[in-house]
């Protein structure tokens, strides 16, 4: 084989699409890879690219083709911004969800001499279906991981780390926009007794049901988190002390009416709650946590199953 034969052979056999057009977008050449993966007839020569591929975004692509001829530089399209340019079949119809071959395309200026104005333009079309598919899977996995990374594995509410991150953000926001922000912290009363009487599995069931029951009372923007053991905490953006206190009482009364069924019988769980609203004196969100905790322990000292609003 001589060199032109080798070139011709490779252009025919390579798993990369090649389409060559002139400055008027008349098609000069299409290689076997493109023909095999489309339903084009072989008499494509001298036809307009936009007639052969009606799916092409004509106005934008014409501008792009113009840039290649005017500037004598290559142009590109990537599946990440535009999944495909040409509607072509791909070789993974079973294992991927893509309807058409995902593509990275290069629009290459072609001339005999690099210094000359280009005579022709070559589309080099690479199959990126696999990359596209794996990237989508990766994104979905990362998303799942992100959710699990901020979720308490038992109760499915926010874990402490994520809850504190969000409190830090809400605290800054409330300060900046001069808006109210409240916290409720609460603890299950005599949780140790539940564990001792009904066992740890029942204890876990109680924690899960308490979280679910409390969550029913919250708005989309509120955030319930498990602060540790049997202690939970709620961030209430744009909520003043009065609103937080009303909500805390609703939560407390709602749970006290709720029977939690465990293997050995029925548990009624009660809560001691502490409520605090942001005030100008606090410079760090931790100050709110400490004071909500103090209010919570006041509720415990006063006999449990009650709510205390922190007052300076």
């Amino acid at each position: 084989m001589d060199l032109p034969q080798i070139n011709q052979f490779l252009v025919k056999e390579i798993n990369v699409g090649i389409i060559v057009i002139d400055a008027e977008a008349k098609v000069k050449f299409i290689n076997q890879f493109v023909l095999s993966n489309t339903d084009l007839a072989t008499d494509y020569q001298e036809q307009s690219l936009f007639n052969l591929f009606p799916e092409l975004p004509e106005k934008w692509l014409k501008r792009k083709i113009e840039s290649v001829f005017t500037l004598n530089t290559p142009a590109f399209t990537s599946w990440e911004q535009r999944e495909y340019l040409f509607k072509m079949r791909h070789t993974r119809p079973i294992t991927t969800e893509n309807d058409y071959m995902a593509q990275n395309c290069t629009l290459l200026p072609m001339s005999n001499n690099a210094d000359n104005q280009p005579e022709l333009l070559g589309f080099i079309i690479e199959d990126a279906t696999d990359v596209c598919f794996y990237q989508k899977q990766l994104s979905q996995t990362v998303e799942k991981l992100e959710i699990s990374n901020r979720t308490d594995s038992l109760t499915k509410v926010a874990n402490r780390r994520y809850w504190e991150e969000r409190l830090a953000i809400e605290f800054e926001r409330a300060k900046r926009h001069n808006q109210p922000l409240s916290l409720i912290m609460f603890d299950l009363d005599k949780f140790k007794n539940i564990n001792d009487t009904f066992g740890h599995v029942a204890g876990d069931t109680v924690l899960i049901e308490v979280a679910q029951n409390v969550a029913q009372n919250l708005r989309q923007s509120d955030l319930l988190g498990r602060y540790g053991g049997e202690e939970f905490a709620i961030i209430l953006p744009e909520t003043d002390a009065e609103g937080a206190l009303v909500l805390a009482e609703r939560i407390r009364l709602g749970l006290a009416m709720h029977q939690i069924k465990v293997d050995e019988g029925t548990v009624i769980a009660t809560l001691s709650l502490g409520v605090i609203c942001i005030c100008d004196d606090y410079s760090q969100y931790e100050e709110m946590i400490t004071r909500a905790d103090m209010a919570l322990y006041q509720s415990k000292r006063d006999g449990r199953n009650r709510t205390t609003l922190y007052q300076a």
Partner: protein
Amino acid sequence: MIDIALTEEQRDCLQELINVAMGQASDKLARFLNTFVHLNVPNIELVNFDSLPADFTENYAQQNLSVVSQGFYGNEGIRGESLLIYKVNTLDDVAKILGYEPGEISDNEQLTDISSILTTTFLNGLAELIENQLSYSAPRVVSSATSSLDDHLKQLSFDWDLALKVDISYMVTDYSFDCDMVLLIPGEAVKNIQLVLERILKEY
């Protein structure tokens, strides 16, 4: 690390080449964009690996950035990566500058389109001046409001020792638009560029 200091002569030579390439690029761009393009004489600066992230952090503190990266490679072992850095709030006019309809294509694609045009037009001109020919990888958005430039610099596919920082300011009639272009070049390739500069200096 390779010693990457350019001599004063080499530096002047490179500055001159970049000036000429910029001039040619602005000429071509004006023709394509069909409007007058004014280009400031670019500032070039050689920066080593350690100081670059700090430079950027200072320059772009508190700004939402978009960064587009494009690899390039040519003969004589010249290769590197070009970064175009945009402040997000200056990007409103990009579609108009490119002659696209509003909403015709996504913001990211506008960004990769304009970046590729700026990078390849300038680098092709520069390559021609040093009798080289460059090929390019596709442009990629590597950093947007959600990810940081620092992270990208740390994750570059090759270790670069020297960055050739070229600050360009493109002014297009009726629109204001500017960006910084940074060429990151690995140490081996810098040596090759030095050889080319020496050859050119000998010829004149």
